[in-house]
């Protein structure tokens, strides 16, 4: 696993911040936006120059999305102990929403003035960030693709990866996602009036909206045969996955969370588990009025009145858009490894619509199954189930 986010530059740092209850939400510093005093973000402190140095790239050669992605993917491959990425049928599946938009918006008119930034023109293709990550990993003659299903992109990348291995198409696949902050998304979410002007407060009655975040997170999935052959240490198992569409509204979830219910049902069915076997839910919990209500109702429908301990980690990282599903997959696996439920930071007021209280303190308890939700624009809903044992 590999991750870079507002709360850390690698898996170890992210876990440290999670258990310490340390948020990464701050004012924005890397982007000069007129909204800088009205919003808070989950920004990665490291600037592009440092990231490029770390990757041995010249200045201003890649978009921040690709830079972050390469760093996290490299950590994941390194942690998995892979020396030659091409020694098995390996794939790369990456989710992104903005791709190289950070550079496209910066040079939108400059392209016609001079040729200084022409190398960024093709970066607008979402798939270009994946191409760059593949080149850093040395992946050749292989299956590499990009998924863009808004905020469920990386969750879907993980799901596809699991399906590709299950169906025998691949032996190993690097899955995850990357998204950097951009004026495009800041202004886009601003027009939807769902950005909070302060620290986001998931599942709180007085929640004011989300904080945008940036991150990259990747996991290495391998087939049972390859795991056995290479004698790998398995960090966790993808037990189930479910994808459904809410088919309700372009940007909002349905009142009763139909799509979310379907996604959770499918995932449980594939896992062959009943809801009572779920020990912890890492909720999508963006802290928008709409999401948390819809998701809360969906959880009540699936788990009846016995909703297990749940929390949203968006109060730590912000909403990292395409990456949310992958970063939260890593947090879910870390939860299983360490038997820990992370606190839902900033929660004060129970919601009026139902009696659901997120976990607000760090809890240490035996965890066997963790459920993670990711929902996105366009009605895309994805649920992943992770387990400690096969």
């Amino acid at each position: 696993m590999g991750v870079i986010s507002a709360i850390g530059n690698n898996v170890r740092e992210n876990y440290g911040a999670l258990v310490a209850g340390r948020t990464g939400i701050s004012r924005i510093t890397h982007i000069d936006t007129v909204h800088k005093n009205d919003i808070m973000v989950g920004e990665i402190p490291t600037d592009n120059a440092k990231l490029e140095e770390q990757l041995g790239l010249p200045r201003d050669s890649w978009s921040r999305t690709a830079l972050l992605g390469a760093i996290a993917a490299q950590e994941a491959v390194h942690q998995a102990g892979i020396s030659d990425i091409n020694d098995a049928r390996t794939g790369l599946i990456s989710g992104t929403t903005v791709g190289g938009m950070d550079k496209s918006e910066q040079y939108f008119y400059d392209y016609f003035e001079n040729d200084r930034a022409w190398h960024h023109i093709n970066g607008l293709h979402a798939g270009d960030s994946t191409r760059k990550i593949a080149s850093k990993l040395g992946l050749e003659e292989s299956f590499a693709t990009t998924i863009s299903t808004a905020c469920s992109s990386a969750a879907n990348a993980i799901m596809l990866g699991a399906r590709m291995i299950k169906s025998g198409q691949l032996d190993r696949v690097v899955v995850g996602g990357t998204d950097s902050l951009s004026k495009f998304t800041i202004n886009g979410f601003k027009t939807l009036m769902i950005l909070s002007d302060t620290y986001n407060t998931p599942f709180d009655d007085k929640r004011k909206g989300l904080n945008l975040g940036e991150a990259a997170a990747y996991l290495v999935l391998e087939s049972p045969a390859l795991v056995e052959k290479e004698n790998r240490t398995v960090l966790g198992y993808i037990k189930g996955f479910g994808n459904a569409n809410d088919a309700f509204h372009q940007t909002a979830s349905s009142d009763n969370g139909d799509g979310a219910v379907l996604a959770m049902e499918k995932a449980l069915k594939i896992a062959g588990l009943t809801p009572d076997k779920v020990d912890y839910i890492n909720a999508h919990g963006t802290a928008t009025p709409n999401n948390d209500l819809s998701e809360g109702r969906a959880m009540l429908r699936i788990f009846d009145k016995k909703v297990p301990e749940f929390s949203s980690t968006k109060a730590y990282t912000g909403h990292t858009l395409a990456v949310a599903g992958a970063i939260e997959a890593i947090y879910s696996v870390l939860a299983l490894q360490n038997n820990v439920v992370y606190p839902n930071l900033n929660f004060k007021n129970p919601m009026q619509e139902f009696e659901l209280l997120p976990q607000t303190e760090l809890v240490r308890k035996e965890l066997n199954v963790v459920l993670s939700n990711s929902f996105g624009f366009g009605g895309n809903c994805t649920t992943l189930l992770f387990s400690k044992e096969v």
Partner: protein
């Protein structure tokens, strides 16, 4: 493992393909560096209230997907999978220019919403009330093949019975202007019938939307069997023959079994060598066809190739306008599609008569 059938096709392209009853009897000839689709009468497909916020890409996809659903005799499907290189890029561009021009003030949400890459698959799901699996792939010239492969896995494994699969891309100004700067688009107009003789760099850029219903059930509307799809992120020219041979043998075929190869030649002298190499190495005695002189080049142009191949198998005729050599197969049973863009993202797709 189920067999996977192409049960219907839908196309909006630079040819008059939206009318499913004809098959390239009339061909539109262009002399340009960019070409747009021949627009169907969108109003007869989309009510005004629904159309008012729709980007061109969504309109083209609505017509194309409606055509495919209708031909398959379906109102709903189990899954919707869409590939698009750039999504509704026109709205993205307008939103970016508004951000810059208005200094981040007075921006409205509609363009931002449409610029989300998955807006096409999401809107189709909403329109037909499909709560099933919904995916969008955005990986340059294999965006469409990623979708095909996904659907193929689902159908083969019995996870779905009917899947709507599509590819869509729209042609818009800023994208064209910037890609002219880096010479990905030809500097001089070229007559479409002379595309492969242009002798110049770059492509003729275009747009289009192609949708198909794939199913594990054969029916009277069935065109062909989709036997296999394989993609490669990188590939050198001298490795293509080897990869194709392996792909064919995995599908129980040899070079001699292929009755037609449809290649993605786009008239770019810098990269058409890939197709030539394959033709010379393996398929010297095989009938060959091409299509980008009809469709133009775009990330999901290979959707046009699948449309073409499906029609060829069903009608058992190869229109003269797509022939690349003078060879003719006695029957058209196995068709291989090969595409790449600028030397990357190669795809092989195999269709079989059923």
């Amino acid at each position: 493992m189920s067999t996977v059938f192409i049960n219907s096709v839908g196309s909006v392209s630079a040819q008059k393909t939206f009318d499913g009853t004809t098959f390239l009897e009339e061909v539109a000839i262009y002399n340009d560096t960019v070409i747009r689709v021949i627009d169907p009468d969108y109003k007869s497909y989309i009510p005004p209230a629904a159309a008012r916020r729709m980007a061109k890409g969504i309109k083209m996809s609505t017509v194309s997907s409606n055509t495919a659903l209708k031909e398959a005799g379906l109102e709903r499907v189990d899954a919707i999978v869409v590939g698009t290189g750039l999504g509704c890029i026109g709205d993205s561009e307008k939103f970016v220019s508004a951000i810059i021009d208005n200094k981040e003030q007075f921006l409205t949400p509609t363009r931002f919403i449409q610029s989300s890459h998955n807006t096409v698959s999401g809107q189709i799901a909403m329109a037909i009330g499909c709560k099933g699996y919904n995916f969008t792939y955005v990986h340059s010239s294999i965006s469409f093949e990623s979708s095909l492969l996904d659907a193929l896995i689902q159908l083969k494994n019995g996870e779905a019975s009917n899947v709507l699969v599509g590819g869509v891309d729209e042609l818009v100004d800023h994208h064209v202007d910037t890609h002219r700067l880096i010479k990905h688009i030809k500097a001089e107009p070229v007559d479409s019938s002379q595309l492969l003789q242009s002798g110049t760099e770059g492509c003729v850029m275009a747009e289009g939307a192609h949708f198909f219903v794939l199913s594990n059930q054969k029916q009277t509307s069935t065109y062909a069997e989709l036997a296999g799809v394989r993609t490669f992120n990188t590939l050198s020219e001298n490795k293509i023959g080897e990869k194709v041979s392996v792909f064919l043998s995995e599908n129980g075929l040899t070079v001699g079994d292929i009755d037609l190869v449809i290649s993605g030649n786009n008239g770019d002298i810098a990269f058409d060598g890939y197709y030539q190499t394959l033709a010379d190495d393996l398929f010297g005695d095989t009938p060959q066809a091409y299509y980008k002189h009809l469709s133009g080049e775009f990330d999901t142009a290979s959707g046009f190739a699948l449309w073409l191949a499906a029609k060829i198998i069903k009608t058992q005729t190869v229109p003269d306008v797509v022939r690349l050599n003078h060879l003719q197969a006695p029957k058209l049973k196995n068709i291989l599609l090969y595409n790449q863009y600028r030397g990357e993202n190669h795809s092989l797709t195999l269709l079989r008569k059923c």
